[in-house]
């Protein structure tokens, strides 16, 4: 019964999501556009500097993937706060659906969309990207889903804390993007003052970036144990915190 409700809810949420053109563009379009436009504009000049080569080979695919994780988190945060404000969560809570089932359906949907977008990115990349993509798609998908799950759990903490739906998206952006800036993706970590390096080490975004860079470059999972552990620890901590402070109305 509950499982039937879970699939039905996930399916309906998917349809509801697709009916919103802007959300669809942000989730699927933006990472793809960034990846292809930047890749094609920088690709031809790659030989001029090692920096540009690294950018095209690793930084850009990881950046596009992080955009997917961020858009999943931002959209989850705003959906939850809009649903809460509109009484939708409360209405669903007055049915036999357990609260956990409702939230799980949303997380599941976000992860599926992330995997779908990544698949599109690979397909488009094979055709249009300036260099050949040699990464193991399955391995990278797993890494991205782990990273996204961990960032989504941080999103739940933010969704629990924001007072109204109007604040949800700006607050999410104000937290996630600075974390990306100090994650070591664009500028090496040791370029930052020690205090920022410490913040970066505590941030799931840093470990997500590091994991994705490693797997994208073909490093084995055995070299990623620290990152995997950090992402799982962040997930456990954030889930515990949001279970405590989450509000249904």
């Amino acid at each position: 019964m509950i499982l039937r409700g879970f699939w039905k809810l996930t399916w309906i949420e998917l349809k509801v999501f697709i009916r919103e053109p802007l959300g669809l563009l942000a989730t699927i379009g933006v990472p793809l556009i960034i990846f292809l436009l930047l890749g094609r504009s920088i690709g031809p000049r790659m030989d001029q500097a090692q920096r540009l080569t690294t950018f095209v080979q690793v930084t850009l695919p990881v950046f596009a993937s992080m955009m997917m994780a961020f858009s999943a988190a931002t959209s989850l945060i705003s959906i939850i706060s809009i649903y809460r404000e509109g009484g939708i969560l409360k209405r669903l809570k007055a049915t036999p659906l357990s609260p956990q089932t409702i939230l799980t359906a949303h997380v599941f949907l976000k992860l599926s969309l992330t995997a779908f977008t990544l698949g599109l990115l690979f397909l488009a990349g094979k055709r249009f990207y300036p260099i050949e993509l040699e990464t193991n798609l399955l391995s990278f998908t797993l890494a991205l889903l782990l990273a996204t799950t961990s960032i989504l759990s941080l999103g739940f903490v933010i969704a629990s804390a924001v007072p109204t739906a109007r604040f949800a998206q700006p607050v999410a952006g104000a937290i996630l993007y600075p974390l990306l800036a100090i994650s070591g993706l664009f500028v090496p970590l040791d370029a930052f003052a020690p205090i920022w390096q410490n913040v970066a080490m505590l941030s799931p975004v840093t470990h997500a970036v590091s994991l994705l860079q490693g797997i994208w470059s073909g490093e084995p999972w055995s070299q990623q144990l620290l990152e995997v552990g950090a992402l799982l620890a962040n997930f456990t901590l954030c889930t515990a915190v949001s279970a405590k402070i989450f509000r249904w109305e």
Binding site: K8, K15, V16, Y83, G86, R91, K93, A94, T95, P96
Partner: protein
């Protein structure tokens, strides 16, 4: 008749605000029972504690002989809930909502037939955000009825609706009762309570101040009734002083208003008019309403 809902000594506090102070009432099988009172009186909190959505701070609640705080899972299959000011996903279609809700319960009625009964069959494929206020509320009634519950909770169902949509909803609620279900509703509209409810509890400041049928409450607290008529007749108001139970006579231009008490008062007035051969061009009786009862009991109007 057996009691379907029993609330005894309910108290609920939010921070330093006492939302419900001491509320007790019983809802009997097959009746429409209304919790009535102004906004902020504690109606919704009382209802949400009864539905199992909130934990009371004190008091005993039994719904279908179960404790809603403990047996929520079992009760959810037997009660139908409509929440105040609820929404659905903006772009969910009417049939999708009904289909989702139907998938959550072991036994359900036919969704399409239900939509037809509620006059929503033409809106099957419409997005929630495109529905009118009355259509949204009818959809929420459908969702509350999809699993054929024994007891239905309706919270401020017609607030914000235009009079015509309101009347449609009223007749739907009467239908629910006529199918043998019990209805517990809240409203701050006295006309609604009077039209719909078999019995009402008047709540103010988190306390129940009266429980009875609307008619009994009116008889008890506002026994006075008035007769107003217009006429070209130009006699003295003293003519009416002989009428049994008369309290006052007022004259404004060509309209006389006679107020008095007693079941025979209106008959007496008619006889008097007839005896005096007064030619009347307009005649109406003005009966007190729940609104007057509320004013009498609390000293202020419900919308103050």
């Amino acid at each position: 008749m057996p009691s379907v809902v029993s609330v005894q000594g309910l108290r609920k506090v939010y921070g330093s605000t006492v939302a419900v102070d001491d509320v007790s009432f019983e809802v009997l099988e097959g009746e429409i029972f209304g919790l009535i009172g102004p906004n902020g009186a504690g109606k919704t909190t009382t209802m949400e504690c009864t539905e199992g959505l909130r934990q009371p701070d004190r008091g005993t609640i039994r719904v279908l002989s179960k404790d809603p705080a403990k047996d929520a899972d079992e009760l959810q299959n037997r009660i139908g809930v409509q929440l105040q000011q609820a929404h659905l996903q903006k772009r969910i279609k009417v049939w999708e909502a009904v289909d989702l809700w139907a998938s959550l319960y072991p036994q359900t009625v036919d969704g399409d037939a239900l939509l037809e009964r509620l006059g929503l069959d033409t809106k099957r494929d419409a997005w929630f955000m495109t529905l009118s206020g009355g259509q949204k509320q009818r959809l929420f009634i459908a969702l509350a009825l999809i699993h054929d519950p024994e007891l239905v909770f309706l919270d401020e169902l017609t607030t914000g609706l235009d009079p015509q949509a309101r009347r449609t909803i009223w007749s739907l609620i009467t239908d629910i009762r006529d199918q043998g279900k019990t209805v517990l509703l809240t409203t701050h509209l006295m006309e609604e309570a009077e039209r719909l409810c078999d019995r009402v509890a008047i709540i103010e400041h988190g306390r129940v101040i009266e429980i009875d049928t609307p008619a009994a409450l009116v008889r008890r607290h506002c026994p006075q009734r008035s007769v107003a008529f217009s006429t070209d007749w130009d006699g003295s108001t003293d003519t009416f002083q002989t009428i049994q139970g008369l309290d006052s006579v007022q004259r404004a231009d060509r309209t006389y208003t006679l107020a008095g008490q007693g079941d025979d008062f209106v008959t007496e007035v008619i006889q008097c008019i007839s005896q005096q051969s007064i030619r009347v061009t307009d005649f109406r009786t003005i009966l007190p309403t729940l609104e007057d009862v509320f004013l009498e009991l609390t000293g202020h109007g419900i919308r103050d």
